[in-house]
């Protein structure tokens, strides 16, 4: 079961290490992790996605809560949250018409296009993992030279902040 866990933590050195070390030492899996400061500069939000069965997920939540530097641990329901990942892909441009085709695809997916060159082009998409996969499938024929992903970033929808 793919799950999104949102964790508020103390914004201080070593906390990311404690979280990732917890996953490693208890043999849990981190699918993606993104970290950033929140509206309160003393607090960071980590968004962790993981593959785990129900029992394991419950343990992950409890072990995260047990850490003294975590302030809040929530499981986000996909339907009651907004979640996105930012992905950049540098695609190979083999012939001049590729640029037009890729730009059209990018527009259809509401992507930004950057760094258009004779032999390569960078597209940037911010979307759910499903849409990202769909785009990856469509563009991989051109040749993906490099890819960078931020991992999932998520917030509960208005009115659902206290669930999970």
């Amino acid at each position: 079961m793919w799950s999104i866990i949102s964790v508020l933590v103390e914004n201080k050195p070593g906390v990311l290490f404690k979280i990732t070390n917890l996953f490693r030492s208890r043999n849990y899996n981190i699918d993606s992790i993104s970290v950033g400061i929140t509206e309160n500069p003393e607090v960071s939000r980590m968004t962790i996605t993981t593959e785990a069965d129900e029992k394991q997920l419950s343990q992950i939540m409890k072990q995260l809560e047990k850490l003294i530097d975590t302030l809040e641990v929530k499981l986000l329901d996909e339907k009651k949250s907004v979640y996105r990942e930012l992905v950049m892909m540098k695609l190979k441009v083999s012939k001049p018409t590729d640029i037009k085709e890729i730009t059209d695809l990018a527009n259809a997916f509401k992507c930004d296009v950057h760094d258009v060159r004779k032999s390569s082009i960078i597209i940037e998409i911010t979307a759910t993992p499903d849409r990202v996969s769909a785009l990856v499938d469509l563009v991989k024929g051109y040749g993906i030279l490099e890819m960078a992903r931020t991992g999932i970033c998520a917030l509960a929808r208005g009115g659902y902040e206290n669930e999970g």
């Binding site: 933590v9 290490f17 070390n21 917890l22 343990q59 409890k62 072990q63 003294i68």
Partner: protein, 562 residues
């Protein structure tokens, strides 16, 4: 406000926490701390190896139920206490370990005696601090003691760079601290306790499983009340050994890999268990799936992460075990429930207990472990504190040495640290100087920290090492006999050294006891003389610990002596 150094404020903060004794060994990176220790009222116990300092602090902490304190320098000093920290963490023992670190500007430059002890200990501490300015020290110490001693206790590390020890700052000593992400005490949910009580009352074959949490929270009286009101038999985990008087008619003793036969048997026949302060370790319950089959589990624990970790729980009560049990006792009294022990289950329990106590075969040797340990029980006053090392002697202690006074038996049950028992006994003696303290030891374990004899002798912390000497790493030998077709390798200690001479070399008393009578007299001599004593007891290297639940099997597959 006057400016004081980080080392000075450390010492003031420790004194404010009521610290009177600390175990340690100085080195380059903690000399400023030691210089302040020189001026303070805190008693310093000099060890011969930092690992022993951490075990002494652990033993002190378990007995006094206040964090034990140990000091080590940076680098190897710090890494030497890693085993002690891991041991304390595995057994939820309160400890504050204070290490020196290279100066902050040298951190990360692979300086002499630099080790990233914060990183190294991350998975085995309850929390770790590294104050980077002297002004932080008082609050760090306050928080460290608060974290180490509350909720589920555990070890806390404070790693202080040398310049932070030396530099001065204006400091403020807080009288209390709050940590927003730490909520150690949760009030137990009364509705859950009601559900638990109903479940226990409606069970046909109820049993109580008492774990280490009962000892940590001192819930002895509450536990005994519930058992007696409901006439429910009590089994314990090995860590919970002695949470219930083992001479009580309802006591069945520890369950587990080397549990009492009657305890394992009744555990597998029960239909409902009230587990108090237990984490359902594999050594206690065998295979998880088999243990929970046809068993309703009520789980009381202060640590929410233990609920559902190893066993599926029917009713969970999160909170201090003593508080939860006290509420349950009140409910039973209000309902005017007092059972008489005439049920079919109570009869079955009694029959089983009597059967196993009368019919289990005893190892045919004049110094069989059961005879030796029963002799020890006869002569050792009930209020004495007993620690153990790790191995066969430890499991024999579990089987044959009855703990009468709750909370007088301590062992490295979780990590299984050989060499723990002797220094921990010295720490225990420091916490309770008025009672005899005895370490039930094997020579393989004793070898590992025997240089603490110097500490026991010179620091006037006399403990008794009751050495069941089979000249072998006995538990490993037993597994090689049992599972590896008697291919014995790496277990023969060849009767070296002579432990009587070792004791004497350190200025301790060494007594070799070769009959039950001599053993009894040796223990009495040791108690009376009040000097550190090693009693060397040559036992049969061929004796196995039985009953035995082989690893990966369930309690019902228990192997009995044949």
């Amino acid at each position: 406000m006057e400016k004081i150094s980080g080392a000075r404020s450390l010492m003031i903060a420790l004194e404010k926490e009521g610290v009177e004794i600390a175990f340690g060994l100085p080195g380059g990176a903690n000399l400023p701390i030691y210089d302040e220790l020189y001026k303070s009222n805190i008693r310093h116990v000099l060890v011969r190896h930092e690992q022993s300092a951490s075990h002494m602090a652990d033993g002190f902490g378990r007995v006094s139920r206040r964090p034990g304190v140990c000091f080590a320098t940076s680098g190897p000093g710090a890494t030497n206490i890693v085993t002690g920290i891991a041991t304390a963490q595995a057994d939820s023992a309160p400890m504050v370990a204070i290490t020196g670190q290279v100066p902050s500007k040298m951190i990360g430059r692979d300086a002499f005696q630099e080790s990233d002890i914060i990183g190294i200990t991350n998975p085995i501490v309850k929390y770790a601090f590294q104050p980077m300015s002297p002004g932080e020290v008082p609050e760090v110490v306050k928080k460290a003691f608060y974290i180490a001693s509350t909720g589920r206790p555990g070890p806390v590390l404070i790693d202080i760079p040398k310049d932070v020890q030396q530099n001065e700052a204006e400091v403020h000593f807080p009288s209390e601290v709050k940590i927003r992400g730490y909520h150690p005490w949760v009030d137990p949910d009364v509705t859950q306790i009601e559900r638990a009580t109903e479940m226990l009352l409606s069970a046909e074959r109820p049993i109580i499983l008492a774990g280490g949490g009962v000892i940590i929270s001192s819930a002895f009286a509450e536990l005994q009340s519930i058992a007696e009101l409901l006439m429910i038999p009590v089994v314990t985990t090995f860590k919970g050994k002695g949470s219930f008087p083992e001479n009580h008619p309802l006591s069945l003793g520890p369950i587990g890999m080397h549990g009492h036969a009657e305890a394992n048997k009744m555990m597998t026949e029960a239909d409902c268990v009230l587990a108090c302060g237990s984490r359902f370790s594999d050594r206690s319950v065998g295979t998880f799936e088999e243990f929970e089959r046809n068993l309703k589990i009520i789980h009381m624990d202060v640590d929410p992460a233990e609920i559902g970790k190893n066993q599926t729980t029917n009713v969970a009560v999160v909170g201090d075990v003593k508080t939860s049990l006290r509420i349950m006792v009140k409910m039973l009294i209000q309902k005017a429930i007092k059972r008489n022990g005439e049920s079919a289950w109570a009869k079955r329990v009694k029959e089983t207990k009597d059967y196993y106590r009368e019919n289990l075969k005893i190892h045919p040797h004049p110094l069989a472990a059961s005879k030796v340990l029963k002799k020890l029980r006869e002569v050792l006053p009930a209020q004495s504190i007993v620690t153990t090392e790790v191995g066969q002697h430890q499991m024999w202690a579990s089987l044959f040495f009855d703990v009468i006074h709750p909370g007088t038996f301590f062992s490295s049950t979780g990590l299984g640290t050989m060499g723990w028992g002797f220094p921990a006994a010295i720490g225990a003696k420091a916490a309770k100087p008025d009672v005899p303290v005895l370490d039930i030891a094997g020579e393989g374990s004793f070898n590992m920290t025997e240089n603490s004899l110097a500490v026991s002798v010179l620091e006037d912390l006399p403990v008794i090492v009751f050495l069941l000497n089979n000249f072998t790493l006995g538990m490993v030998a037993q597994w090689q006999r049992t599972f590896y077709d008697r291919r014995m390798i790496g277990v023969d200690l060849k009767n070296c050294p002579d432990y009587v001479k070792v004791a004497e070399a350190y200025g301790a008393q060494g007594i070799r006891a070769t009959t039950l009578d001599e053993i009894g007299k040796a223990v009495q001599t040791a108690i009376k003389s009040n000097v550190a004593t090693v009693i060397d007891i040559p036992i049969d290297p061929q004796e196995d610990v039985l009953p035995f639940v082989a690893p990966g099997t369930s309690l019902k597959d228990m192997i009995l002596p044949s």
